[in-house]
Each structure stands twice: as C-alpha cells, then as structure tokens.
Symmetry: C2
Subunit: 203 residues, 2 copies
C-alpha cells in the first residue's frame, strides 16, 4: 500500500472536514461514547481522534488535555452556566427538590448516564478521574449552587450534597441493588430532596 | 534443591500449626491485610493461604469460597450479631445518630477501614465484590436494623441509608475532597445522623 492510497481503517488522513463546523461537536460526541464504552483510563485523545475521523492535534486544539476533553464531554450533560441559575431560581425551600430532580433526570437519561458512569467508576480507583469529579462536579456545579444560597461553609455543604447523590448513583445505577434500582424516579426525588435541602440551606 | 529441603519462601510446607487454635484467626487477619493491600480481585485463597503459612485447603475448610473469606474478614469489623442490637437499643429518635457514630467509628479506624476500602473500590467495578457489599452490608446489617424498627419498606430504607454512608465513604475516604476529608468525625456524625434517622424511621 502506498502512502497515497485511501485509508479507510486506522488513523484517517486529514480531511477538509477536520476544521469544518461540526468537527468540535463530533469530537465531543465521540469522546462521550469512548469514555462511556472504554472507561476513563483506556480512553486516549488519540483514540477519540481516530474514532471521530480527525487528527489528534485538532482534539488538543479544541479541548487541551484528556482531562479537559473529559470535562467538556460531561459538561454537555450538565451545562453549569445554565443549570446553576435554574436550580437557584425559585423558592429557596425547594432548592433541594430542584437539585434532586435535575440529578435524577441526568442519570435516568441513558445518553448522559453512560459517560458519567465511566467517571464515577474510574474516580473510585484512579486519581486523575477523581480530580475531574472534584473539579468539575463539585467546584463548577455544586459549590456554585451553595455559594448562590449565601450559606456558611458552602464547600462542605456542596460535598455533603454530592455524597448523597454519589451514594444513590453507586447503589441504584452501578451496583443496582433492589428495590432501589427499580424504584420510581419520583420516589428517589422525594426521598433525597429533603436531604439535599438540609445540607444546602440548614444550619 | 531436593523436595525435602526446607522451603522458607513460596508455599510453606504443612506444619503442625495449621490446625492449631489460632490458625483460623491468623487466616482472617491475613485475609484482611491481603484484601486491603491487593484489592478484591487480585486476592486469592491461595495467596491468603501462602501469606498465612497454611495450606489453601485449610482456608477452604474454615471459610469456603473467596467471597466467604471476604465476608468473614469484614464481618470481624462489623459483628452484626452484636452491632444490630446495639444500634437498635436506645431511644428510637436517636437511631440515626447511633448508626452514624458506629459507621464513622468503623471508617476512622485504619484497621477496619483498609479492607472495607478494598471492597468499596472493587464493588464499583466488579460484580463479585458488589454482591458481597449487597449481601453483607445491606442484608446482614442495615436491613436488620430497618426490620427491627418495624417500618414499611425496610429494604428501600436500608438502601437509602446505605447510599448516604457510601457517598461519604467515596468523598471522604476514597476521593478525599476537602474540607470533607479533614472534617471532625463528630461533624460528620452530626451532619449525617438526621439523614439516616429520616430514611430509617420517617414516612
């Protein structure tokens, strides 16, 4: 095979489409699938580029390091710039319910659940994924919510709220214990909302 | 080297001590160390036997399968036959606090924390360890507590209580987010006790 032959498999040759509009979205979508299917550790920038049909340099250009690609891939699910104000907007005594409903909604949707499962699984065993969890979910989402409520100890409150949600994730979506795994999502919202409310707003 | 030469390394020759009183405890102690240091998956009955200086058949004789060795090794920390009545004994409105204090005590003690960390880490990624978590911690400890309180849905309540405790374990002891990781144990008890109380006793 000469260098000039079309390469349908392996690392694709650079194409005009690499920098076309849509390449960024395609990389993100591919990254989500790769992280979800292969796990955090076995996913590489090179692998994402290959699956998306772009040059690895383009992935670095748009997103930076693997951790940053990952953060961007899960940010699609969360969109903290939209989510934080939406959760803060409304009666203060219902912020726990709004957060619980958002949380359950993200996890009940298979498209957003899969990449999050990958980071949760990896965070428990690998420092790099733990850092993503720490920096992204805690700092960018929950701490901003706690800060928006103007309560003392916003970081500790954010972590306590996160602890309850992570525990539900582990038992309902990862280990799948019954009856929790099959419980109606609204039941989970009703059970967890008062816990989040207390952590976020009470003394 | 002839077969008769003393083997100081590798699988030890059978010794009179194999079935002496103390062998069972030595196996258990070794199992806890092995599970803690090597993780659930990389620990084998053969490896435990070797490290304890006994024949693998003796490990099987005392405990059965690897899962059963593991359950016995963590049962040493929990002793459900003692713990369940102790947590149920006392004012009903303080059962959440008694459970929270027991939970934090087990996790603050490095000797009991290490083997539990191994199962939590593995439970998130491996079905066998998840089953141990499910059968042991949930069924033998938390469900008995919920059943002792004579409330509806004891299994779901046990799982909700477990979810809060597992989330604290992940963020405080595994991922070690700050300030949660360095918070005073009594602060954790105070924060988590009302959550456990509500899950275990309220509608």
């Amino acid at each position: 095979m000469s260098d000039a032959s079309p390469r349908r498999r392996g690392r694709p040759a650079r194409a005009a489409g690499d920098t076309a509009p849509g390449a960024r979205e395609r990389i993100l979508e591919t990254a989500r699938t790769e992280f979800a299917e292969r796990g955090y550790d076995k996913t590489s920038v090179r692998g994402i580029a290959k699956a998306a049909g772009v040059d690895p340099a383009l992935v670095h250009h748009y997103f930076g390091t693997k951790d940053e690609v990952f953060a961007a891939a899960i940010e699609v699910s969360f969109e903290p710039a939209l989510v934080v104000p939406a959760i803060l907007d409304g009666p203060r005594e219902e912020v726990g319910e709004r957060l619980a409903r958002f949380f359950v909604g993200v996890w009940e949707n298979p498209a957003t659940r899969a990449p999050l499962l990958a980071v949760i699984r990896s965070a428990v065993t690998h420092e790099a994924a733990a850092t993503v969890l720490r920096n992204f979910v805690l700092r960018r989402l929950l701490e901003r919510i706690a800060a928006g409520l103007a309560v003392p100890d916003p970081r500790l409150r954010a972590e306590l709220a996160a602890s309850q949600m992570i525990g539900i994730v582990i038992l309902r979506y990862v280990v799948r214990v019954e009856p929790l795994a099959s419980a109606d999502p609204e039941r989970i919202v009703a059970d967890v909302a008062p816990t989040l409310q207390r952590y976020l707003t009470e003394a």
